[in-house]
C-alpha cells in the first residue's frame, strides 16, 4: 500500500472511520444529547466533502492495483453522494425525534451507506462494484425497518432485504460469467480482452445481462421495480428520501461505470435492450403514478419514471459523440433529480404531522395560504421533475433528449416527451391543490428541514438559468471514461 493508494481511497476511508467513531460516541452521550449525533454526522460528511473537492483538481489515479480509481467521474459522484448524505441528515434530524426512531445507530448507518455509494463511484473492478453495492444496500435494508414496532416499516425492511438479496445474486452470477468470459474482473482488463478478441462474447453478453438485472433492481427500472412503492411507503420518510436519491444515483453510477466503460464492445447488443427498458420504465412509471392518491406511493412511481429518463442515456451507445454527451447528460440529470427528489420528500416530511396516517395528495390543499414559501418550493420541485422551466429538470431533459436524438433513436425521445406530458398531470395536480384549493394542512416548522428545502429549490432555479459551468463539469467528468 502506497501513499497514492491511500489518497485515492481517502474520502471513503475517512467517512467509514468517522461512522465507526460515531457509533462509539453514542455510548458516551446521554440520551438528551442524542441530537448532537446528527451534527457530528453532518460534520463528518462536510469534512469528506472538503477533501473530495480538494482532490477534484488532481489527476486520474488508480489505487490498490486497479481495484479503485480516482477520476473526474468519481469526483463528480463523490460530491453528489456527500450532498445526498448532508440532505439526508438535515431531513432526518427532527423527523427522527418525532417518529421516535432516534436510535444512535441511525447516523452511522447512513454514513456507511454514503461510503458504499462513494466506493461505487470509484470502483474499477467488478468485485469492488459488488462489495460497494452491498455496503450501500445493507444500511438501507436496516434503516427501512428502523421504525420497527410499526408493521409497515418492518414489512418494508424485509421486502427490500429479500428482493435486494435476490438481485445481488444476479450481480454475483453476472460477475462470475464475465470472469469466465474474459478471465478478469478488472474493468480495464475486460475491455482489453474484448479488444484483443480473446474474450468469449456470448458468455460476456450473458454476464452483462445478469449485471443489468441486478443494477436495474437498484435503480428501480421496470420490470425490476416491484419493491419500490411498498418500501418507499413503509420506510420512515427520512430514510425514503435518502434512499430515493442515493440508491438510485449509486445504481446509475454502477451502470455508467460498467456499461459505459467496460462493455462498449457489447453496445450493439445492449443498446436496443436499454432503449426498450427505458421506454417501458417511462411508460409504466408515469401511467401508474397518475392513478395514485397516496403521496408517498405517487413519488415512488415518479422515481421509477425518472429512472426511465436516466436509462435513456444508455440508448445512444453506438455513436461515440452522442455517448459522451449522453453520459454527461445523465450525470447532470442525476444532480437535478437528487435536488428535486430530496426537496419534495422534505416537503412531505414537513406535512407529515400524524405519522400513522398516510399523506394523500388532497392534504396539500391550501398549503399556499398556510405556508407560501413551502408551497413555492414544492412548485419548483414539481416543475423540475416534470421538466418545465425555470428548473434544472428541464435542462437535464434537454441534454438527455438531444443525446438520444443524435444517437438516432428519435422514437425513444418521442416516448420521453409524451410521458413527460403525462407526468405533468400528476405533478401539477399537487401545485393546483396547493394554490387553488381550500384546506388546513398541518405544517411542522423545522429549521434544518426548511433550510434544506430552500437550498434545494434555490439551486434548482438559479443554476438552471446558467447551467453551462455545471454541464462542463459533467462533460469533463466523463471525458476520461472512454
Amino acid at each position: 500500500m502506497t501513499i497514492t493508494d491511500f489518497s485515492v481511497i481517502l474520502p471513503v476511508t475517512l467517512l467509514t472511520a468517522w461512522a465507526s467513531i460515531l457509533l462509539l460516541a453514542e455510548l458516551f452521550l446521554p440520551r438528551a444529547q442524542r441530537p448532537f449525533l446528527a451534527l457530528l454526522a453532518a460534520l463528518g460528511l462536510a469534512l469528506t466533502l472538503g477533501i473530495s473537492l480538494a482532490q477534484s483538481a488532481q489527476e486520474f489515479a488508480p489505487g490498490f492495483g486497479g481495484m479503485v480509481v480516482r477520476d473526474g467521474f468519481s469526483n463528480f459522484l463523490n460530491v453528489l453522494f456527500l450532498l445526498t448524505g448532508l440532505f439526508g441528515v438535515a431531513l432526518s434530524y427532527r423527523y427522527n425525534q418525532r417518529a421516535q426512531i432516534e436510535r444512535g445507530e441511525y447516523y452511522p448507518l447512513l454514513l456507511f451507506s454514503v461510503a458504499g455509494m462513494m466506493l461505487m463511484g470509484q470502483a474499477a473492478d467488478l468485485i469492488v462494484v459488488f462489495l460497494a453495492l452491498e455496503l450501500l444496500s445493507f444500511p438501507l435494508y436496516i434503516l427501512s425497518a428502523f421504525a420497527y414496532p410499526r408493521p409497515q416499516s418492518e414489512e418494508a425492511g424485509l421486502k427490500y432485504f429479500l428482493l435486494g438479496a435476490f438481485a445481488s445474486g444476479f450481480v454475483v452470477y453476472g460477475i462470475a460469467l464475465t470472469f469466465g468470459a474474459s478471465g478478469s474482473t478488472d474493468l480495464a482488463r475486460i475491455v482489453a480482452s474484448v479488444a484483443a478478441g480473446s474474450a468469449n462474447l456470448p458468455l460476456l453478453t450473458a454476464g452483462a445481462g445478469l449485471l443489468l438485472v441486478g443494477f436495474g433492481f437498484k435503480v428501480a427500472a421496470v420490470p425490476f421495480h416491484m419493491w419500490t412503492p411498498d418500501v418507499y411507503q413503509g420506510a420512515p420518510t427520512s430514510v425514503t428520501a435518502f434512499m430515493a436519491a442515493g440508491a438510485k444515483t449509486a445504481g446509475f453510477a454502477a451502470l455508467l461505470r460498467v456499461f459505459g466503460a467496460a462493455f462498449p464492445a457489447l453496445a450493439a447488443d445492449l443498446s436496443p435492450l436499454m432503449a426498450i427498458l427505458a421506454a417501458v420504465t417511462m411508460l409504466f412509471g408515469n401511467l401508474i403514478a397518475v392513478a395514485q392518491t397516496d403521496m408517498k406511493r405517487m413519488l415512488a412511481y415518479s422515481s421509477i419514471a425518472q429512472a426511465g429518463y436516466l436509462l435513456m442515456a444508455f440508448a445512444p451507445f453506438e455513436i461515440e459523440a452522442a455517448r459522451t454527451m449522453a453520459v454527461a447528460g445523465a450525470l447532470f440529470y442525476l444532480l437535478a433529480y437528487t435536488l428535486a427528489s430530496f426537496g419534495s420528500w422534505g416537503v412531505v416530511i414537513a406535512l407529515e404531522k400524524d405519522l400513522d396516517r398516510h399523506l394523500s395528495i388532497g392534504d396539500f390543499a391550501g398549503l399556499a395560504r398556510r405556508s407560501p414559501w413551502l408551497a413555492a418550493a414544492m412548485t419548483v420541485f414539481m416543475l423540475s421533475l416534470t421538466g418545465l422551466p425555470p428548473t434544472l429538470g428541464l435542462v437535464g431533459k434537454i441534454y438527455l433528449f438531444r443525446a438520444v436524438i443524435e444517437g438516432g433513436m428519435v422514437w425513444l425521445a418521442v416516448i420521453g416527451a409524451l410521458t413527460s406530458v403525462v407526468s405533468a398531470f400528476y405533478y401539477l395536480r399537487i401545485v393546483v391543490n396547493m394554490f387553488m384549493r381550500e384546506g388546513e394542512p398541518a405544517v411542522e416548522r423545522e429549521w434544518w428541514l426548511e433550510f434544506a428545502i430552500g437550498a434545494a429549490a434555490v439551486v434548482t432555479v438559479v443554476v438552471s438559468l446558467w447551467p453551462f459551468p455545471l454541464f462542463e463539469w459533467a462533460e469533463w467528468a466523463v471525458m476520461k471514461l472512454f
Partner: protein, 171 residues
C-alpha cells in the same frame, strides 16, 4: 469421456437436484439438509478444480458452522414445517423462465468457443493456503477490508433490529 467429466456431471445433477429440493420442500429442516448436500457437492467441485483449501473452507464454514446455526434458528423459532400443500400453479411461470434460461445456457455452451472459456482453467496455485493468503492481502486487500466493514454493518443491523429499547415499550 474422462473420469473427471463424468464426476462433474454426476455432481452437477446432485447440486441442481438438491437446490431444487431445498426450494420445494415444505419442511424447513429438510430444506436445510438439502442445502448441506448442495454445499458439499459444490465443495467437491472446488476439489476438482484443484482448490482443496477452498473446498475444505466451504465444508467447514458453510456446511458446518452456518448450517448448524440455521438448524438451531429453525428449531428455536419452531417453524419446522410450512402448512398446506405446494401450489404447483404458482410454479408455472418460474418454471417456464427457468427452462428458458436453461435453453439459453445450453445454447451458449454449444455456441461457445471452447478455448477461450476460463472456467476449466485449473491452477495449482490455489492449493496452497499461504499463497492464497498472499493474494488476499496484496491484490485483494481492498475488497478484504471492505468485506470487514460490510460484516460490521450487518452485525449492527442484527443488533439494532433485534434489540427492543425501553423507550419503545413505554411508548
Amino acid at each position: 469421456m474422462s473420469l473427471e467429466l463424468i464426476l462433474f456431471f454426476v455432481l452437477a445433477i446432485i447440486a441442481i437436484a438438491t437446490a431444487l429440493g431445498m426450494l420445494l420442500s415444505r419442511s424447513a429442516v429438510y430444506s436445510a439438509l438439502y442445502l448441506v448436500v448442495n454445499f458439499v457437492s459444490v465443495a467437491i467441485f472446488y476439489l476438482l478444480l484443484d482448490a482443496p483449501f477452498i473446498a475444505l473452507s466451504q465444508i467447514a464454514v458453510y456446511a458446518g458452522a452456518i448450517m448448524v446455526l440455521f438448524l438451531f434458528v429453525i428449531m428455536l423459532i419452531g417453524l419446522e414445517t410450512l402448512g398446506g400443500e405446494l401450489n404447483w400453479r404458482q410454479l408455472v411461470w418460474p418454471l417456464a423462465m427457468g427452462i428458458l434460461l436453461l435453453v439459453q445456457g445450453v445454447f451458449l455452451v454449444i455456441q461457445r468457443v471452447g478455448r477461450d472459456v476460463y472456467i476449466g482453467q485449473t491452477g495449482t496455485q490455489l492449493s496452497d493456503p499461504s499463497l492464497m493468503a498472499r493474494v488476499l492481502f496484496t491484490d485483494y486487500l481492498l475488497p478484504f477490508q471492505v468485506t470487514a466493514v460490510l460484516l460490521l454493518v450487518a452485525m449492527i443491523g442484527a443488533i439494532v433490529l433485534s434489540k427492543r429499547e425501553k423507550s419503545n415499550q413505554e411508548a
